[in-house]
């Protein structure tokens, strides 16, 4: 488990991260979203023991990131994919991975096995002996992901893993992350790509120096908008609105462009009653649907967008 407790980092007078408190459960994919300069990279760097917090602390698998004796151990159990691949361009893909595997103290036989498995999975085994400089951006990103995984880390920190990749390369990386998710690795994913976060992450934290919200996309949606049922009527009247409003479990009703928007605590239980009430009041229902708020809506609402 990763647990941050009032984690704070200042750079002189500038606050990068303030009072970040959160928990990431084992095997969970946790998405960290926020605008540029929101403190995502600083948080990852603190959790990876690359920089010290100004205040507060965090625990990775129970080890304290501020404790000098724990820091080496933490670095041994994490894998980091930074914003840029940062590979040794003149060396081959194999040599890049082999170097890092050696630093983690993996034996030669196991290294070879592991490197082969990773490069084969990521479809770059045939180019293992080519200098990385000759690789495309997507291939470099794959090698960087393989590097972060070469020692079989329990915790994987990914900083914008699909940033700057073409759609196909992004898809390959995303699919691989889905596979990793199935393997049960705890993944901490910094991303700007809300669609990616929504697809991959079990829970999402929205940060803008402070943690603005945390939860699954559904939890966040329901937190800000509740659960809303959309009922398309052939023609709506105020009488119908008042009839629905009179149902005790209905929180709020609004009429927009012929659609009745009904906020309910338990739509599954109460939708039939709402429909029945409307029909009794002469409504002709064209369709009934659930109004979904995507992560983009949540994000923009939290970080000050207009939606």
């Amino acid at each position: 488990m990763i647990e941050a407790v009032e984690l704070t980092r200042h750079f002189k007078d500038i606050v990068a991260v303030e009072d970040l408190t959160l928990k990431v459960k084992d095997g969970e994919v946790f998405g960290f979203i926020g605008p540029n300069g929101a403190g995502k990279t600083t948080t990852v760097r603190m959790l990876c023991c690359l920089i010290n917090p100004s205040r507060g602390t965090a625990y990775v698998n129970g080890l304290d990131i501020t404790h000098p004796g724990d820091r080496i151990q933490i670095r041994g159990m994490i894998g980091l994919l930074p914003e840029t691949p940062g590979l040794y361009e003149s060396l081959s893909a194999h040599r890049n991975l082999d170097f890092f595997a050696q630093l983690y103290g993996i034996s030669k036989g196991e290294r070879e096995q592991r490197i082969k498995a990773l490069l084969t999975t990521l479809d770059v085994w045939d180019r293992r002996d080519d200098p990385v400089a000759k690789f495309s951006k997507g291939m470099k990103q794959k090698i960087a992901i393989a590097r972060a995984l070469v020692h079989k880390p329990s915790f994987l920190f990914l900083d914008e893993p699909t940033s700057g990749l073409d759609p196909q390369a992004s898809l390959t990386v995303r699919n691989y992350l889905m596979d990793l998710k199935k393997e049960g690795i705890t993944i901490f994913l910094n991303t700007h790509n809300l669609d990616e976060a929504e697809r991959l992450c079990d829970r999402i934290g929205v940060i803008q120096k402070r943690l603005l919200a945390v939860g699954s996309p559904e939890e966040l949606s329901s937190k800000f908008w509740g659960k809303t049922t959309v009922i398309q009527l052939r023609s709506a009247t105020t009488q119908m609105v008042h009839a629905v409003e009179s149902i005790p479990s209905v929180r709020r009703v609004s009429l927009s462009e012929g659609k009745l928007l009904v906020e309910l605590e338990h739509p599954d239980r109460d939708n039939p009653l709402v429909v029945k009430t409307l029909v009794e009041n002469g409504a002709q229902i064209e369709f009934v649907n659930e109004l979904k708020h995507g992560l983009e809506d949540i994000y923009l609402r939290l970080v000050g967008g207009r939606k």
């Binding site: 690359l50 010290n52 151990q73 980091l80 930074p82 691949p85 003149s90 060396l91 630093l103 983690y104």
Partner: protein, 342 residues
């Protein structure tokens, strides 16, 4: 600190250097110039001026038929005579031996001159031993048991070349380190490296070792042909093989590694402040300034390049090394690298 991790980092860096043509070129070219070109260009003219070794007397085939002692001789022509304790002025001499005499305004040829003062004279094809000369000209003579000025200068010059030689371990690290530290910073490959379970010290030691080993290997390997060439060129002139000598041993095996370490550490400091390989090389190359200053001081004659001054200079550089290594350790920390390195 784990040495296996230091070696892993060093080996990786050396693998990278091998693929960098500029580094390979520097590692080969500079030692090649120092080992082959420098002795030829600088020493050959000296040897041509100095002539052959002085310690082999000329075969004069003297045929002494007269013996003279305790006389003052003026305006005379003398031949096949041995003079002892005599003063000869304005004489023309051939095939003579002068022992403990005084020769003034004389023209001497095919003679042996021992413990004699030679003043305003012209001596041709003779052996001279223990004889001071004032305002005299020697031609084709062998001076026995005495080093000529040009030969003395040659000996001093060979020792001065040491300073140039130490440029190899001072300059090569500047080139390699600029790629190793600034290059890695520009390539952004430091962050994943810093996220591994290695200490700052292990990373710095590994990277420094990867620069130290090729730099010193190039220095010491080029020393072998250099010593051979110097001995071959200067040996016949001086009468003995000038290298290796204690000054060179201190220089090559103490001062050179110290300068190499100084250069590496200074480059760590420079790398933390610049974002350009060339800028790093230019600033880093300033490391040769103390060496050049020491060279100028010795050439100007303020100090003699002897074992004492060499050891003192080495001690001074060791102290500077300690300070710069300490500063580089402070700079090469994860937090510093990620936040403060430009």
């Amino acid at each position: 600190m784990r040495f296996d991790k230091i070696w892993i980092v060093a080996r990786k860096d050396i693998s990278e250097f091998k693929t960098n043509r500029y580094i390979v070129f520097s590692l080969v070219l500079m030692p090649l110039v120092m080992a082959f070109i420098m002795p030829i260009v600088y020493l050959v003219p000296f040897t041509m001026l100095a002539g052959e070794s002085p310690d082999v007397p000329l075969a004069l085939h003297l045929n002494i038929t007269h013996y003279t002692s305790d006389l003052d001789i003026e305006n005379a022509t003398v031949f096949d005579t041995k003079f002892v304790n005599s003063n000869l002025t304005n004489v023309l001499a051939q095939g003579c031996i002068f022992d403990n005499c005084s020769l003034t305004d004389a023209l001497v040829r095919d003679s042996s001159i021992l413990n004699t003062t030679i003043g305003s004279s012209y001596v041709i094809h003779s052996n001279i031993e223990g004889s001071p000369r004032v305002g005299s000209v020697l031609s084709g003579c062998v001076i026995i048991g005495e080093t000529s000025e040009i030969e003395q200068l040659l000996s001093v010059f060979i020792n001065s070349l040491l300073i140039f030689f130490i440029l190899i371990p001072a300059m090569i690290p500047t080139i390699i380190a600029s790629y190793s530290f600034v290059g890695e910073k520009l390539n952004r490959s430091l962050e994943p490296l810093l996220a591994t379970p290695t200490t700052d010290m292990e990373l710095l030691a590994g990277k420094s070792l990867s620069i130290f080993l090729p730099s010193m290997a190039a220095t010491w390997l080029s020393l072998i042909p250099f010593v051979i060439l110097v001995d071959v060129i200067a040996g016949p002139v001086i009468g003995h093989y000038p290298l290796p000598n204690p000054i060179w041993i201190v220089g090559a095996f103490i001062l050179a590694p110290l300068f190499c370490l100084l250069s590496i550490s200074a480059n760590v400091l420079v790398s933390s402040r610049v974002n350009d390989v060339r800028a790093s090389q230019q600033i880093g190359s300033l490391i040769v300034l103390p060496l050049v200053a020491f060279f100028i001081i010795t050439i100007a004659g303020f100090i003699t390049l002897d074992l004492f001054y060499m050891s003192a200079f080495a001690l001074l550089i060791a102290l500077v090394d300690a300070a710069v290594v300490y500063l580089s350790l402070k700079v090469f920390r994860r937090e510093e690298i990620l936040i403060r390195w430009k």
